[in-house]
């Protein structure tokens, strides 16, 4: 028996013999359980820390995901010098991330959070060929197998309580244990990610505990401002009034699409987000509805402009770009590099979550973006739909295990499709030709909790029409495994 097999056997045995904890927990995976082994709980047990009224806290996490993509058939790959096809060969991808979360209370309602992070990664096909269904949400548009250490977040949050019911906020990563009012104003300023404030979903929860595919992390077609790692700088305001919440934020985009440098001219280029949320209860099961809209004014290229430029002057093709471009060698294709400038992009979406049983939650996200201009910061989909469910292993007496099933679909606009069909590429897709079709993903995962702080998960994904191209229909089968630890 190989060492890997022995290790697997030991892990399975450990999982099977892990103590069954009887604490009921709602299906959404809370960031940290009260009974979890972590540093702050350890201090609290020793009487050295007050979890309910924290002045500071410190948490950490480690996540390793490895994915194996099986070979699939396609009519063509990287046709005519285009470079954004998903490889049809067997490939392995991985990410390993290590994060520390520090929080400090400065004064009443004033908190600072600092989150350094390290990541090592290897994407499939150099992160090319998948539009909205990238198989591992941890993948970044920069980075390498050599670990990068960077500052993921450094932000200030101020809460002004305005009355109403008292709400206890548990001690968690990026949340000091405290009590707030159900009516409050929260202001966040600094270096964070848009997803820290907007489009939260308690069923899909922390993706490090649930779905692997990026299609389930947020709306696949929400081109929220972020650098190549997914973080940015900006400000957000949240107004909570009992079951209602309204959020407004402005974040800064990258200087060029999908790159790391940030353009700090917040008056010139920006991504504004608006969200309204209502929490409800149906037959005692809680749920939420969120409506989200965004408006970007960023430096990108419009597909129609790129096509027009190429048709007017075929010398302005993808292979002859002289400014920022994605490296296509296709002389017979338009390219966005010729037409980049200030452009607007907007979208509107809905996010639903509903508990339907003690430990089973359902979710749905849908978004429509205008689809006139290229992806600036997230991924290539112009319209998206995802839905599914997550359940805890309570019925089989493993309440901290998680199982989930989800479907994700992404579409592109007609003008986006025409641009790709002419051989153009954007930040992630472009096979040199296109038979337009929705890109879809089916995902099934099971996550085993062991030792109160470690999860080991197995995952299967089937991805259809990668790059929105029915000529490369697939399905692409991806098998993945994950080790996630919290401390």
């Amino acid at each position: 028996m190989s060492r890997a097999a022995v290790l697997l056997a030991l892990l399975v045995a450990a999982a099977a013999t892990a103590p069954r904890r009887a604490r009921a927990q709602a299906a959404p995976p809370a960031p940290h359980e009260d009974v979890a082994w972590d540093f702050m709980n350890l201090l609290a047990e020793k009487g050295l820390h007050d979890l309910s009224n924290e002045r500071w806290n410190a948490y950490g996490q480690f996540t390793y995901i490895t994915s194996f993509k099986l070979p699939f058939a396609a009519r063509y790959t990287n046709l005519n010098g285009s470079v954004n096809s998903l490889s049809t060969d067997y490939e392995r991808s991985f990410t390993g991330s290590f994060t520390l979360f520090f929080g400090v209370r400065l004064w009443r309602g004033g908190e600072i959070y600092f989150v350094p992070e390290a990541i090592s990664l290897r994407p499939l096909s150099q992160l090319r060929g998948l539009g909205g269904s990238i198989q591992n949400f941890e993948l970044q548009k920069t980075g390498s197998e050599t670990p990068d250490v960077y500052r993921a977040r450094l932000f200030y949050r101020q809460t002004f309580n305005l009355g109403g019911k008292r709400i206890d906020l548990d001690s968690n990563p990026m949340q000091l244990g405290t009590t707030v009012s159900s009516r409050r104003f929260v202001f966040t300023l600094g270096n964070f990610t848009t997803l820290d404030v907007f489009d939260r979903n308690n069923v899909t929860g922390d993706p490090r505990q649930t779905f692997f595919n990026m299609a389930f992390m947020t709306h696949a077609s929400w081109d929220f401002a972020a650098d190549a790692r997914g973080y940015s700088w900006g400000a957000a305001a949240e107004f909570y009034w009992d079951d209602w919440a309204v959020r407004v934020g402005r974040m800064l985009p990258p200087t060029e699409p999908n790159t790391l440098p940030i353009d700090f001219r917040f008056w010139k280029y920006y991504s504004d987000s608006y969200e309204i949320e209502h929490q409800h209860s149906i037959r005692g099961r809680r749920g939420a509805v969120r409506l989200l809209a965004y408006y970007n004014h960023v430096r990108t290229g419009r597909f129609a402009d790129a096509i027009a430029a190429f048709e007017a002057d075929p010398g302005k093709n993808a292979a002859s770009c002289t400014s920022f471009n994605y490296g296509s060698g296709n002389f017979n294709a338009p390219d966005l590099c010729w037409v980049r400038g200030p452009n607007n992009k907007w979208g509107i979406g809905i996010n639903l979550e509903q508990m339907v049983a003690k430990d089973i939650g359902l979710f749905l996200r849908a978004m429509y973006s205008d689809g006139n201009s290229e992806v600036g910061a997230f991924n290539s989909a112009d319209r998206s739909l995802s839905f599914g469910g997550v359940a805890r292993g309570w019925p089989w007496r493993r309440p901290f295990d998680l199982v989930g099933i989800g479907f994700g679909l992404g579409w592109i606009s007609d003008i986006h499709a025409r641009y790709l069909a002419m051989g153009g590429i954007d930040g992630f897709v472009g096979d040199g030709a296109l038979k337009q079709a929705p890109e879809g993903v089916f995902e099934l995962f099971y996550s085993v909790n062991i030792l109160q702080a470690i999860w080991i998960a197995a995952d299967y994904q089937a991805i259809w029409n990668p790059g929105f191209n029915a000529d490369r229909a697939g399905p692409v089968h991806v098998l993945s495994a994950k080790v996630h630890a919290e401390f």
Binding site: L43, L48, H49, R55, W56, A58, L100, F102, V104, L106, F114, P116, A118, D148, V149, Y150, R151, A152, L154, N191, D227, R229, Y231, S232, W233, T255, L260, P261, I262, D263, F264
Partner: protein
């Protein structure tokens, strides 16, 4: 001489001349590139350490902690060669740290981020220098070096005239040496720390070894391997009326010299900072400490012409 010999000589001469012309038309020789290194010489004290660089060894109580944020600006910290080429002309850094202490022991973590590093490119001393060019827009999330540290107090007590401690630090490289933000190698430091208080007088000192693998002795003003660390701080503590605050004012002198060029000007960094700090003195509650420093380089290697430092620190002490 026969005509054939004349022809041969003429051809050889022509060939030699042609070769000479060809050589003369070649591009000038390419100078080796200076590799860069971590130019920052101000290593902030451990979070909770009190001074900006020195450590007052105020370690007490069962569990305490501190977080700090230090901003610094240095003018011309690296000028190289006879022409004094300002390879790093402006350097602004942000350092964030956190520490936990348990009785006489402390562990801490510091993460430094360059906010701006600018300089000029050029040739000096047979090397081609590329001036640093780092800013927050191009490098929005960079962390230059991660510092892990552990300190412990060996002798003495809080408030006493003499305390002696020791500490170790490990630097993990996470940035590019070409930006002059990191050595690009693991580094370490072992230090003896001393401090004391006598009425209004407070002092601190350090002596240690900076274990530095980078040895670029051939490169003008480059690092020359491991160094001796030294420093001393002396100040007066003035209570601010009846408020639970005190002002500590005094100079800090600190530096490092490479062992292989012991106390030579080219391998010795030496700086002075006039430090003022306002700190809470209200016992068990979390206290704020605001630190300000201004000073100048007194040596050569990595010493800035002048420097400004500002820091804010939140710390707790258990009085038991």
């Amino acid at each position: 001489m026969r005509s054939s010999s004349l022809v041969a000589v003429a051809l050889l001469a022509a060939a030699a001349t042609t070769a000479g012309v060809a050589r003369a038309q070649e591009a000038p020789p390419v100078l080796p590139s200076a590799p860069g290194f971590g130019v920052e010489r101000l290593a902030p004290s451990a979070p909770g350490g009190g001074w900006l660089v020195m450590d007052q060894l105020d370690l007490r109580g069962p569990l305490a902690g501190a977080v700090d944020l230090t901003l610094g600006y240095a003018s011309n910290p690296l000028r190289v060669g006879d022409a004094r080429l300002p390879v790093v002309a402006h350097q602004a850094m942000l350092d964030i740290g956190a520490s936990l202490s348990w009785w006489r022991f402390r562990v801490y973590l510091n993460l430094a981020s360059p906010l701006a590093l600018y300089g000029e490119s050029g040739a000096a001393g047979g090397y081609d220098f590329t001036g640093s060019s780092v800013n927050l827009g191009n490098n929005p999330d960079v962390i230059s070096d991660v510092r892990f540290g552990v300190d412990f107090r060996l002798v003495g007590r809080t408030g006493g005239r003499f305390r002696l401690g020791a500490g170790a630090q490990l630097y993990v490289p996470t940035d590019h040496k070409s930006d002059y933000a990191s050595d690009g190698t693991f580094r370490g430091a072992l230090r003896l720390l001393a401090a004391g208080d006598a009425r209004w007088l407070t002092w601190a000192a350090q002596l240690g070894v900076h274990i530095r693998p980078r040895d670029d002795a051939d490169v003008p003003d480059g690092p020359r391997g491991s160094e001796l660390l030294f420093g001393v701080a002396i100040g007066g503590r003035v209570p601010l009326g009846r408020a639970p605050w005190a002002l500590v004012l005094g100079p800090e002198l600190f530096g490092a010299t490479a062992f292989r060029a012991f106390f030579t000007r080219a391998a010795t960094a030496f700086e002075g900072l006039l430090t003022a700090r306002f700190e809470g003195t209200a016992g068990d509650r979390a206290q704020l400490r605001v630190r300000l420093g201004a000073g100048a380089g007194l040596g050569s290697f990595g010493s800035p012409e002048w420097r400004l430092v500002a820091g804010v620190e939140l710390f707790t002490h258990n009085q038991r």
